[in-house]
Amino acid sequence: MMEIKAVNVRKQYQKEVALDDLTITLEGNKIIGLLGKNGAGKTTLMRLLAGHFSNSSGQLTIDNKSPFNNYPVLREVCLIMESNNFHEKFRVKDILNISANFYPNWDNEYANHLVNVFRLNINQKAKTLSKGMYSALGIIVGLASNASLTIFDEPYIGLDASFRSTFYDLLLETYQNNPRMIILSTHLIDEVSRLFEEVAILHEGKLMLHDTADNFERKHLILTGSKEEVDQLTSGRNIIHSSSIMGQKTVVLYNEDITDSGNLKVSKASLQELFVYLTKEEVNKNGTTNQI
């Protein structure tokens, strides 16, 4: 079973700190959502896992082995990014051949099937592919790699909504046929949140939250009602968002048990809304906390 362990991992590019003391353990064959604002450190983490460079300090291991400069480990890791995945002078068929040789569990039949699904011309050079078709090629490699750790970092730039939906179908299909750890990083949270079994949110180079998708849904609560009643019930609680209009106040609580909500209306937010509440800048300026 796949286990990723990061302990106090720090990654610094010259003066810029991309990851700052990140500690997280990911394990099991799961589809995991990796979320964070731009610059939160998601891509850095994924590239560390794929051995693109080494961390500045701390320990990062995949199944107890460091991925950096470790060929046997990296053959089990497939990272697909939004760009720069392939040499631009290579043809689609060359890229598929190289991938077939690199990944020990590569499924050639499936790759060919996917080429048809996305209507790719295998003789075309990578640099002449449209953005959408370039993304499709990355998706094909990621899905057909069957790598024990398959990572997609915003893999669908330029892909239309219909092909994106096809990608989600395929992701579930490959996950069910070849259970493995799949990490998906995306800004289109509403589209994919239902695919996640687990979610990790990075914020400013640190881990903000890591929990099952189920718990994210369970642990938050939106209360709406008269300002007085809402304030009375929620003062001193862990409020991650609040707003008022026409004497009515809405408050989003996280990790709080409210057994009796009285006359207040109780509702739920989507993962995307929760993500925004947790990471949006203004929340900090208002003096309310986003530290859970």
Partner: protein, 120 residues
């Protein structure tokens, strides 16, 4: 089973309710095979673990039973269990909100009763 999922309730609960509604309406009968976890995952584009959680909710309530290696089936007593449960929730779920809205906008009980009578 093609109703759309929404954000108001956890997905696993909605999966459980969809199956219940099918059984309550007689669409699926005792000992009928229900779709697999993977079929639910594919149809609704959800994580298979979520679908499994919804189904397990029904297994716990003896609405669904599992046959190892064969699949999952509707129990003999499923429809009764569902109807009993839904009847017990009916007042809170449907009547209470209706009375509240009626009070809010000033519709009296006689009017409500006459509407219900007409519709019968």
């Amino acid at each position: 089973m093609s109703e759309r999922l929404n954000e108001d309730q956890p997905i696993f609960q909605q999966i459980a309710e969809l199956i219940e509604t099918n059984i309550a309406e007689g669409e699926m009968k005792a000992n009928d095979k229900i779709p697999s976890t993977n079929e639910f995952a594919k149809h609704y584009q959800i994580n298979p673990a979520t679908a499994a959680k919804g189904i397990n909710l029904l297994v716990d309530q003896e609405i669904i039973y599992k046959k190892r290696g064969v699949g999952m089936f509707v129990t003999e007593n499923a429809k009764n269990i569902i109807l009993k449960k839904r009847k017990s929730h009916f007042f809170d779920q449907y009547v209470k909100p209706m009375l509240k809205e009626a009070e809010r906008i000033g519709i009296n009980k006689d009017q409500l009763i006459s509407w219900i009578g007409e519709n019968k």
